[in-house]
C-alpha cells in the first residue's frame, strides 16, 4: 500500500488528484460516469460576485493536441451558487475547493466572505489568471502588487485554505508566485491556459468570437512542467501542477519535478474517468519503485 494522501494548508486530500476548475462543472455532472469519491478533490467552475453569461460564440475550437476556449467565466454568481449548487455538493465524499474570481479587487474577498460560513467549502482557489475576461483575469495575475493585494484581501476574509491559480502568460512567474506567498497563499495552482489564437484562412476570421483564448490539453504540458519546476525551486509552499495531463505518466512527471498534487482538466471532456485511471497509475508506479508515500516521489528529479 502506498500512502497517496497529501496535505496542503488545512486540506487533507486522500490522494493528490483534483479536477481542474471549469472542466468538472459543480461536481455532479459526471456522477453517472464514475465514483467521484475516488478523487482527491474537485475544484468548481469559477464563481464570481454576479452571474456571468459568458462570451459570444464560437467559444471553443480544437487545435493539434489541444483546444482553445474563451468561455468567459460563465457562471450563476455566488448567491445562486450557494442556494442551488452547494446542496448538491453536500453529497460528494471528497474535498471541494471553490474557484473564485472578480472584476475588482474587492469582489474576490466579497465572494469568499459569502462562502466562508459553509462547511462544505474546504478551500478556495483564487483565479487571477483567466485570459477570457476584460477585467480581473490576466490583468490581475500579471501584476505582482495587485496579486498580493487580492490574496491578502481574501486571506482576511477566510481561515480556510487558499490556493492561488497562476497564469503562464507572464515574463517571470516566480515574481507572481512570491507575491501570492506574501499575500498569504497556502498553495499555488499552475498553470491556467496559455494565450492562443486560431484563424480560418478561407474566411480570414478568427476561430473564436473573442479572437484570442486559452490553450489547454497535451499541447501545453511542456510549458506547464517548466513553470512548475521554476516555481518549486523558488518558493516553499505546495505547488499543484496543471496542464495537459492525459495519462498517469504525465502526472508522475509533475510529481518528479516537484508538484505536491496535480489537476486534470481537458482530459475530463475526453475520458470522464481518466482521473481515476491516473490515480491507479500513480499508485502502481510508486509501488514498483518501492515508495511508501507519494511524498517520496515529489521533487525526486535527478541531475541530467
Amino acid at each position: 500500500m502506498v500512502d497517496l494522501s497529501v496535505k496542503i494548508g488545512n486540506l487533507h486530500l486522500k490522494n493528490p488528484v483534483l479536477m481542474a476548475s471549469g472542466t468538472f462543472g459543480y461536481g455532479t455532472e459526471y456522477r453517472d460516469y464514475f465514483d467521484v469519491s475516488l478523487l482527491g478533490g474537485i475544484i468548481t467552475k469559477t464563481v464570481t460576485g454576479k452571474m456571468r453569461e459568458g462570451n459570444p460564440m464560437p467559444r471553443i475550437v480544437e487545435t493539434p493536441c489541444g483546444m482553445l476556449n474563451s468561455i468567459g467565466l460563465a457562471n450563476v454568481g455566488v448567491d445562486r451558487f450557494c442556494q442551488e449548487k452547494m446542496p448538491e455538493l453536500d453529497h460528494l465524499d471528497t474535498v471541494v475547493i471553490v474557484n473564485v474570481a472578480g472584476s475588482t479587487i474587492e469582489e474576490y474577498s466579497e465572494v469568499v466572505e459569502k462562502m466562508q460560513g459553509y462547511d462544505r467549502v474546504d478551500g478556495f482557489e483564487i483565479n487571477i489568471s483567466c485570459p477570457n475576461v476584460k477585467k480581473g483575469g490576466l490583468e490581475f495575475g500579471t501584476d505582482p502588487e495587485i496579486t498580493e493585494t487580492v490574496v491578502s484581501g481574501v486571506r482576511k476574509a477566510t481561515d480556510k485554505t487558499i490556493l492561488v491559480k497562476l497564469t503562464p502568460n507572464v515574463t517571470d512567474i516566480v515574481t507572481i508566485a512570491r507575491a501570492s506567498v506574501n499575500g498569504g497563499a497556502d498553495g499555488l495552482s499552475l498553470i491556467n491556459t496559455v494565450l492562443g489564437m486560431g484563424v480560418d484562412i478561407e474566411t480570414r476570421k478568427p476561430h473564436l468570437a473573442r479572437i484570442v483564448g486559452g490553450l489547454s490539453g497535451p499541447a501545453i504540458k511542456p510549458i506547464a512542467l517548466a513553470k512548475v519546476y521554476q516555481v518549486v525551486k523558488a518558493i516553499s509552499i505546495p505547488v499543484i501542477g496543471i496542464g495537459g495531463i492525459m495519462k498517469w505518466e504525465d502526472a508522475v512527471a509533475f510529481f518528479i519535478v516537484g508538484a505536491t498534487a496535480i489537476q486534470v482538466g481537458t482530459l475530463n471532456f475526453i475520458e470522464p474517468d481518466g482521473a481515476v485511471k491516473i490515480i491507479q497509475g500513480i499508485e502502481r508506479y510508486c509501488e514498483k519503485n518501492g515508495m511508501r508515500s507519494i511524498g517520496e516521489l515529489t521533487g525526486s528529479l535527478q541531475k541530467g
Binding site: 468538472f24 455532472e29 481537458t266
Partner: protein, 262 residues
C-alpha cells in the same frame, strides 16, 4: 447515459461522402429517444483530441444496435470512414434532450436539410409508431444524398424531395415547397413542426414558423468539447432566457425562441 465500448457491426457507404455506421450499443439502444446524440472518441490518441458528437440516426432495439449517419468533412470523420467490422468505438450516450411528442398534433411536418437528416429517420420511425402521420420535406445537394425514403409505410407519410442541382425532386431549396405548403395550413392546430439542418435553412424556417400558430422544435449543432453541460462551450442564445447549452439543455429547442444572430 453512460460510457461504453461499442463494437462496429458494419459500415455502409451511401454516397461519395456519406457513411452509415452500425454499432452494438445495448444500453444506448434501450434508452435513446429521437434527437439525442452520442459523443464518440475517434481514436485512443492525442490528435484529434476531442470527441465528436453524432445524432442517433436509428435504433434497432431488439438487436441492441444503433446507427450513425455521417458526412466526411474533416480529420475525425476521415479516420472514421476507414472503420471495419470488429473495430470498436468508445461512446458516451445517449446524451441531450431530444424531441418531445406531448402536443395534441396528429400530423408532423418534418424538415431535414443536408446531414440534418441524421436524427430525422429515428424521429420519423417514432412518430409513425405513435400513430402520427408525417409530411416529410427533405433537401440535399444532389439526388445521391437522398436515400431510403421508400422504407416507411407510404400511406402514413407524404414525402417532398428537393435538390440544389435538380437531380431529384424539386430543383432548389426545400424551404420553397415548405413555404407553399404552409401558405394553406398556417393555422392548422393538428400540425407540429420538427426541423434539423444547416443554419441558413433554420433561419428561413424560423421566419416561416413565426407566421404559424403551432409549435416547432429544432435540433441544433454547435462545436462541442464535453457534451454533458460542463465546459459551457456549446452555447446558444435563446430569446427570453439568455445562453443555454446545446449539449445538455438541447440539442432540441423551441425554434421560435432561438436567437440565431446572438
Amino acid at each position: 447515459m453512460g460510457a461504453y465500448h461499442c463494437q462496429v457491426i458494419q459500415q455502409i457507404q451511401i454516397d461519395e461522402h456519406i457513411y452509415r455506421l452500425v454499432l452494438q450499443a445495448h444500453e444506448i439502444a434501450q434508452t435513446a429517444y429521437p434527437g439525442q446524440f452520442v459523443h464518440l472518441r475517434i481514436a485512443d490518441q492525442l490528435n484529434p483530441l476531442l470527441r465528436r458528437p453524432f445524432s442517433i440516426h436509428r435504433v434497432l432495439r431488439d438487436k441492441g444496435q444503433i446507427e450513425l449517419l455521417y458526412r466526411v468533412i474533416g480529420r475525425g470523420t476521415s479516420l472514421m470512414k476507414q472503420t471495419k467490422p470488429g473495430d470498436s468505438y468508445h461512446l458516451m450516450g445517449p446524451l441531450g434532450k431530444g424531441f418531445v411528442f406531448d402536443g395534441k398534433f396528429t400530423t408532423a411536418i418534418v424538415v431535414a436539410g443536408g446531414m440534418g437528416v441524421a436524427p430525422v429517420f429515428f424521429l420519423i420511425d417514432e412518430l409513425l409508431a405513435l400513430g402520427k402521420s408525417v409530411i416529410f420535406f427533405w433537401g440535399a445537394r444532389c439526388g445521391s444524398e437522398l436515400f431510403g425514403v421508400l422504407q416507411w409505410n407510404q400511406s402514413a407519410i407524404e414525402i417532398h424531395l428537393a435538390t440544389e442541382d435538380g437531380s431529384q425532386g424539386y430543383h432548389g431549396m426545400v424551404t420553397d415547397p415548405l413555404q407553399t405548403f404552409l401558405n394553406h395550413r398556417s393555422e392548422d392546430a393538428s400540425l407540429a413542426g420538427f426541423v434539423c439542418g444547416p443554419r441558413a435553412m433554420l433561419k428561413k424556417i424560423q421566419l416561416l414558423s413565426t407566421r404559424t400558430s403551432f409549435e416547432w422544435q429544432v435540433s441544433l449543432e454547435e462545436t462541442m468539447a464535453c457534451g454533458v453541460g460542463v465546459c459551457q462551450g456549446c452555447a446558444v442564445m435563446l430569446k427570453n432566457e439568455g445562453f443555454r447549452m446545446v449539449c445538455s439543455d438541447g440539442p432540441v429547442f423551441d425554434l421560435k425562441n432561438v436567437a440565431f444572430d446572438g
